[in-house]
């Protein structure tokens, strides 16, 4: 009776510890393989194309509308206090410090992260990863390392695009629509943003890149090892869902932690 109780309580706990250990080893092996020669330029460039270039449109669109909403909401909040001139600063700082890195990471997770998990999951289910092992090709190096490097390059660049387009979106709604002086808006943007704000945003982007690439690749790589014992298409679907949910949760947790240390 007591043994069974301990087993019931301990089993999920030990499986969580095991899974965390596997994730850590996977992450460290992937990072280490980035530095192992020969460099995988072509695979990394392909992944930059997939994670970065192909996400650009959705990032620009999200950035523009986020900035426009911030411009509108900011205007109506600030105008009550007669501070609408500070709209440029409010929009720029909100985007560069918080919304840019977070929303960019979440959008990339939705577009590229889920696709990564599904692709790697199918590779696992159709024995392509086993085939790599039989060919003496390190599957972590072949699959994960180019993706994590590509994510580290793409996330900050896309975040920068998001921020710039978002500030422009705030300008559209704040200045062109609501009538705030255009020079004042841009002056406030330039005056308020410090180099440390930009660095803070980039630090977040780098951390989110590691989080998203690791979780999405890991979930796909071990798609056959899920709690529900599902394999095949169901296993890939479970892996994809859990990769997206976990990535988003960890993005928000890390966002809080980094903000806490940066401010």
């Amino acid at each position: 009776m007591i043994t069974r109780l301990i087993e019931t309580i301990g089993s999920p706990f030990s499986s969580y510890i095991e899974s965390t250990g596997r994730l850590t080893r996977f992450f460290l092996a992937g990072i280490r393989q980035i530095a192992v020669l020969p460099f995988q330029w072509n695979k990394t460039l392909d992944q930059i194309g997939f994670i970065g270039a192909k996400s650009l449109f959705v990032i620009l669109l999200t950035g523009l509308f986020t900035g426009m909403v911030l411009g509108l909401q900011g205007y109506y909040s600030l105008v009550d206090f007669g501070s609408e001139a500070a709209l440029g600063a409010a929009v720029a700082l909100s985007l560069i410090r918080e919304l840019g890195p977070v929303l960019t990471a979440i959008m990339i997770t939705a577009r590229a992260g889920s696709a990564m998990t599904a692709e790697i999951g199918v590779m696992r289910m159709s024995e392509q990863i086993d085939a790599l092992v039989t060919m003496q090709i390190n599957p972590v190096r072949f699959i994960f390392s180019p993706r994590i490097l590509a994510a580290l390059i793409s996330f900050p660049l896309l975040t920068a695009f998001f921020d710039v387009v978002g500030i422009f979106g705030g300008f559209l709604s704040g200045s062109l629509l609501m009538g705030i002086n255009e020079t004042v808006y841009m002056d406030k943007v330039i005056q308020s943003v410090k180099l440390m704000d930009i660095w803070g945003g980039f630090i977040k982007s780098f951390v989110f890149a590691l989080v998203v690439a690791t979780i999405c690749c890991y979930r796909g790589f071990f798609a056959h090892m899920n709690n529900q014992g599902q394999t095949g298409a169901k296993g890939v679907s479970l892996a994809t869902t859990s990769a997206v949910v976990q990535s988003c949760i960890w993005i928000l947790i890390f966002d809080y932690a980094i903000t806490y240390f940066l401010v």
Partner: protein
Amino acid sequence: MIQPFIEFKNVYKRFGNLEVLKGVNLSIDKGTVTVVIGKSGSGKSVLLKHIVGLVQEDEGDVLIQGKSLNRLSSKQARQFKKNMSYMFQDNALFDFLTAFENIALPLTETTRMTVAQIRKKVHDRMARLSIQGIDHKYPSELSGGMRKRVALARALVTDPELILFDEPTTGLDPIRKNDVHHLIREFQKQFGFTAVIVSHDIPDIFDLAQQIALLDEGKIVFKGTRQEIMACEHDTACAFIRGREMLYDRSKT
């Protein structure tokens, strides 16, 4: 007595509650072709995966030239695996690579051959398998038979000493199937590799085999030559190759 190249010694393997291998004993000599037959789901692929290290035995031992696979140094294990190829049942071709890139992959990733050398070798294998002109096609653009031959070309391109074939002719028409058998025989004669073939192509596959092993209920219940199995002196083996389920079941009671 000559030491076997590969030896299964009382190997047990269980997946959850399902016991797949229940004390397998099998010796495979260097340079020979061994065909493993058995009912679907009897654990033939699991047996092959023990050799390549994709599956670890729960009990017993798999010996490579007398040394336990688990006790080989990492250098010895690497060397052994470098000289081995595995042709998967469902081909395991990479969807995002073209036919040429799939075949060339073990060479591009694990050797220092030049691009020209790789191209020459891959095209040679493609020519021998009659799959020229599909260099730029992706696996999804190829027929089942073509994909099978691309997988076979990938297995042969490294000139391995040991090739494990997991149902190499499934899904092929009789002409292509005989072509593949012919190619395995020709390549085996030419390069002298050791082959372990899991197959249901009975009796055609027997023409290739120096040794035939029947895996049944987790054990090797018959080992012998083509002549011995075709002579039908072993009840279970005889019933199996004739495809008579009732006789097959009765032979075990």
